[in-house]
Symmetry: C3
């Protein structure tokens, strides 16, 4: 005789573990979506990765909320970059889940077409730390900080925190 | 009294969700396999990532079927690249599953050893859109398009579609 | 009437499949942790990715055990690199699981801040093959080999094995 109460408990444990795996895959997908969103100039898609009042701290600029985020994409600097050939490359994410919150860490690069040579040059290489919240519309970023790995103590200290 | 019919329904839901997670992991693994396959000159392994009549549209060349794909790897251009030091780097994949079909998007770079300097140079940076089909031999690509992010409208439009 | 023995068998199959998915996610997370560990100079965090007597074969140096690994991070060469601006970038991992053992393959790059230009240069591009063991402290590396893709037969042969 198999105990259906024990079966139920095991099933509930599986459901909880599966949700953790699904969360990791969903958060990975968001990181993999950022590049196509900004490099295609899709302002709304980009802004929707954040909560309505989400913050993007990308030194020396701090963007507050979806309107700021959208204007980053439609702005003159970003438009000139993508029309000359640019790629926002994201490294594999490291995900730290805590229930309905998550922290995601990854490297990023901004690569530009090099008009002088037949190729591309790496303009920026940095580290990113995103904070995510589970919402009714899925995981949304409440905060992202991006810092260049330029030898400054600040970037290394951000990495220490992440290590 | 626990309802075994309800238990069965929950278990079936878990099985379906788990299959979705497994599909995402399997597709990620295929993308992570492409570089080792081509950079080692493994023509058969490369061709087997596609269906028998799978297409690889890499402007200005369009390859049709496994024989074309295999000949790309054994061909003079590719062989000279890998013998001089080359790496086909793939970015993290964004996966859109739809039952037995899937679309996978990622960036890629072709990095070459730079004989002049002590290092490597980024020769190509592009975006890839793969279409996959679930077959009896696992997921196989039916179509892949690769376009350089060189500022052309075509590459950005491909990204808009993907965003 | 639903057969509880059949329910149990299906649940056990799901548990086994879920563990495989979790293992893949855990191993991915380790690879995504390596860069932050070394680029922040976190010697202990880096060494703890390996078993106590784990090996890191990074031609021409072979490091044996956590003390060697820790000293790599605190050593003069590594410290001078990260204080000038350096990023150890990891590509998406390809994971081959076999019970309590796993082999993980990925590309890596070492990118340095280029003082002459406003940007970064790719100093190293290589392939990595890690061997992992499931321990009571989670997955730990027993062996990692790293080889540059410099056109040498050795690197390509490593890739053939991996393909």
């Amino acid at each position: 005789m198999i105990d259906t109460a024990a079966l139920l408990a095991r099933l509930e444990a599986v459901e909880a573990r599966l949700r953790v795996a699904e969360d990791q895959l969903a958060l990975s997908r968001i990181i993999a979506s950022y590049g196509p969103a900004v490099d295609s100039g899709s302002a709304g898609t980009t802004a929707d990765l954040w909560t309505e009042d989400g913050v993007y701290d990308t030194f020396p600029v701090v963007l507050h909320g979806r309107t700021d985020l959208s204007e980053m994409v439609t702005g003159e600097l970003h438009q000139s970059l993508i029309q000359a050939g640019a790629a926002h490359l994201m490294g594999p994410p490291r995900i730290d889940l805590d229930g309905d919150r998550a922290v995601v860490t990854h490297y990023s690069q901004l690569v530009l077409r090099d008009e002088a040579g037949d190729g591309y040059r790496v303009w920026r290489t940095g580290v990113n730390r995103w904070e995510f919240l589970r919402t009714e519309q899925g995981w949304k970023a409440t905060h992202r900080v991006n810092r260049q790995l330029d030898g400054s103590a600040e970037a290394r200290e951000l990495l220490v925190m992440l290590a």
